[in-house]
């Protein structure tokens, strides 16, 4: 015999798709997002150095979240969406 139990989760499935990956970084605007953890800037400095050395991006933007403790504020997300082709986010400690 089976009985019905109610679902404790919110089972509505929100479908999300990945953004299209660029084949190359050449001519792209790349944003490097520091989440404000200590040493994240050192890591991103090196990433920026390597990008300039190995890829030919149109521009590299450096942006910082006000705090790692919360999601990026809406205006920062809007700015990244408007200005960058892709974002590299750095977590460090």
């Amino acid at each position: 015999m089976v009985v019905e139990y109610l679902d404790p989760t919110d089972a509505v499935i929100v479908t999300r798709t990945m953004a299209v990956r660029p084949a190359s970084l050449e001519g792209k605007v790349v944003a490097l997002l520091d989440i404000s953890k200590p040493q994240g800037n050192h890591f991103l400095d090196r990433v920026e150095e390597l990008l300039r050395e190995r890829a030919r991006p149109k521009a590299i933007l450096r942006r910082t979240k006000p705090t790692f403790a919360k999601p990026a504020p809406e205006d920062l997300r809007a700015e990244l969406l408007a200005e960058a082709d892709l974002v590299i986010e750095a977590l460090a400690d």
């Binding site: 015999m1 089976v2 009985v3 019905e4 139990y5 109610l6 679902d7 404790p8 989760t9 919110d10 509505v12 200590p38 006000p66 705090t67 790692f68 403790a69 919360k70 999601p71």
Partner: protein, 348 residues
């Protein structure tokens, strides 16, 4: 969801679905859930909040299902609902608390007459086992975080070590044994109102002091434990809980000290000169580079840096049994911009 009627088999199936905390749960039959929804006095589809980080919808019915799972009694529903509202307030930063690598978990602190009505323990063994309301209200909040917020351990909830309070973490304030205004009255509620406060806390750390007989002596012991929370060199800390046992509280109040004076005294005492906070070979933690850059010679700088951002960050409650000169400090998850204690009225 269809399950075997055998409760033992249902427990296995619910565990396999990943909707439990590892302990057996009460199967949420439609009939049980209906009783809980009715006890709330609110419509089943009323939306209370969307829970970060996955923003699942916490309707009255979904809260009820999780409260059944947790082993609550129907009359606990108003407390669980207010707890959901509290953890979803922006100041609590549930997104961060749910996902962090830190230890923190919401500690529910209940004030007001509902403690007696629901037999919420505020006395002996207050953080321990043995009281259904404490055991299941805290558990329901955690199951709601997992099942509606998506905070599955190791998937979204990335706490490195966690702590046992992640199963349940719920206390009453021992207002009857407190010489001071209880937490909810301090925060603007009437003594006759009932509230739930949520605080993103680590596990309690015991402070043992049987021999001090004056307020400054006991508080010096407590300051010694507060000084080392997170790291003995960390500064700028936010909301932190000090749980005074009735005996300690009575001795401190007996010297004429009130909570504001306790906070101010501890805050002033918990400061270190810059020179003791410079990362070095002994300990790599300390003041960040941007702060050290303000001083010409940090290794000799005497400017004092407070452990806590403000005296108000030191939150004092009285709880526990009437015998025993033990108190506790509970570090929060309080980076600048991080979680603050949030308190909500329990609507009945």
């Amino acid at each position: 969801m269809l399950h075997e009627a055998d409760p033992a088999e249902a427990i296995e199936q619910l565990y396999a679905q990943g909707v439990t905390d590892g302990l057996p749960v009460v199967p949420p039959t439609r009939a049980r859930v209906r009783v809980f929804v009715e006890a709330s006095g609110r419509p089943a589809d009323e939306l209370i909040a969307r829970l970060p980080p996955n923003f699942g919808r916490a309707t009255i019915e979904k809260i009820a299902i999780n409260a059944v799972l947790a082993g609550c009694r129907p009359e606990y529903m108003p407390v669980v609902i207010a707890g959901v509202e509290a953890i979803c307030e922006e100041a609590f930063d549930l997104h961060g608390v749910a996902a962090t690598t830190h230890f923190a978990s919401p500690l529910a602190i209940i004030n007001g007459p509902i403690r007696k009505e629901l037999e919420i323990n505020s006395g002996a063994n207050v953080f321990g086992q043995g009281w259904r309301a404490n055991a299941t209200i805290g558990r329901a909040l955690r199951l709601i975080m997992v099942n509606l917020g998506g905070a599955r351990p190791g998937v979204i909830s990335m706490s490195t070590l966690g702590h046992p309070g992640r199963y349940t973490y719920c206390i009453g304030e021992n207002e009857e044994e407190s010489p001071w205004e209880p937490l909810h009255v301090e925060r603007g509620f009437a003594p006759g109102e009932s509230t739930i406060a949520v605080f993103a806390g680590e596990a309690p750390h015991g402070v043992y002091d049987h021999r001090s007989r004056g307020a400054p002596q006991i508080l010096a012991s407590i300051a010694g434990s507060l000084a080392v929370i997170s790291n003995y060199r960390s500064t700028g800390w936010g909301d932190t809980l000090i749980v005074l046992s009735p005996e300690h509280a009575r001795t401190i109040a007996g010297d004429g000290w009130d909570k504001p004076r306790i906070r101010q005294w501890l805050w002033e005492r918990l400061q270190k000169p810059v020179r003791e906070l410079v990362p070095d070979a002994e300990c790599g933690e300390g003041l960040p580079e941007k702060v050290l850059a303000r001083y010409a010679d940090p290794a000799r700088e005497e400017t004092l840096i407070p452990k806590f951002r403000a005296p108000e960050n030191l939150i004092v409650v009285v709880a526990g049994g009437t015998a025993g000169r033990f108190s506790a400090v509970i570090p929060g998850w309080t980076f600048p911009g991080g979680s603050q204690l949030v308190i909500r009225k329990i609507q009945r």
